[in-house]
Symmetry: C2
Subunit: 213 residues, 2 copies
Amino acid sequence: MTELEKGPTGRRRGRGARERILSASQQLFREQGINRTGMDQLCAAAQVSKRTAYQHFTGKDELVAEYLRRFDPSVLSGVFDRTDLTPRERLLAAFDIPPTTPLCPYIGAAVELHDPQHPASQYARDYKKAVAARLADTAREAGAADPEQLGEQLALLIDGAAARTRVLNADAFPTAAAIAAVLIDNAIPTSSPRQPSDDRGTTGSAPVPVGGQ
Amino acid sequence: MTELEKGPTGRRRGRGARERILSASQQLFREQGINRTGMDQLCAAAQVSKRTAYQHFTGKDELVAEYLRRFDPSVLSGVFDRTDLTPRERLLAAFDIPPTTPLCPYIGAAVELHDPQHPASQYARDYKKAVAARLADTAREAGAADPEQLGEQLALLIDGAAARTRVLNADAFPTAAAIAAVLIDNAIPTSSPRQPSDDRGTTGSAPVPVGGQ
DNA sequence: CCGTAAGCACACAGAACGGTGTACATAACA
DNA sequence: TGTTATGTACACCGTTCTGTGTGCTTACGG
């Protein structure tokens, strides 16, 4: 699509072989899963010869690990760096992004690869810990009594919503957000208790914008 | 192990070929995952010829679906049928069983198979809905204001703990149980508010009895 | 004693997988 | 102009996967 310099024989080296591979990974690994996406298909989608792919990555494992490392900026930073929100609002905003994220690739990778020692699994672990830490930081900023506990709890809610969305094929994040609101109100004493009228539709009857297929 | 009638050539037809196949499935699918367990290995573990396996099941897909249907009695009924507990205690007891369950095969199957139309995925969906319904029933029995909401919330906590346990390789159910206690106390007005000293170790520093390797 | 159902052993087909080897083409730079 | 990265095209290797085909063996009921 993007016009790249290319030779008459179909050569496309707009200095983006690696980028195209990773870009195709993002799409295919999430649409089809990691195991069900072969290197042949991936290279075809990236418009890159298989030989080139294996000159950029020593193997599929390394490619998968590298693929996982490309989500931070959009998801993690995108929420926590919003200075226009109060810490408390930032904590709740973490439950509003996932419509963009159909599946949570970290959980998917950990389950599909099934080897805790796999580089991608290790990164998924590190990432989830980092998210919990960021949540804890924000919770501390918001004045929570036990920020670490609240951060871990909110992280669990996010993962629960992701997993449940996947299994039920229905958006579970509103439910998680409702729980989060309760936990935050309970954990931040100075915060105004607000009216407990935040009970939105929690029974999973959402119109499933989850993406898969 | 169990003494079966067997002929001199190693024949074992104690009327349990199908049982042995499903039994081996339970072990291997959970230890190694579904995709990483080949039919050859599975048949070898079940001490069943491959030919026999394919006479009992039309294919691996059917076997996987049937394998998933063998968890209800132990997990679901085991908790909800305990009449020695109050409804409220039963809700909390749902967070104590998972040490037995290393991974939650339903989530695993949904992620691994990656096809919402797969029979096993459909059953996983049904099962998760059934669990939420059972939780809702118990919540209603316990006098919760909005039983459906509480049931869905507790179900999300269980799934979150399962997913997070998997990714972090550390038991996340204590955290989920702590959240559950808060939610239950908030949702059941008549229930004594109790001292809020239920904050056990929620930062995932548990010694990982999760099972996987 | 004989028929039938159930099972076994084993080879094999066909496909997909990850990964490589080889020969050729182009772009950029000297 | 020539060299060196970088990439392509495509065949290919070995492995693993689901699934079959075939022939033989056993248990059991009449």
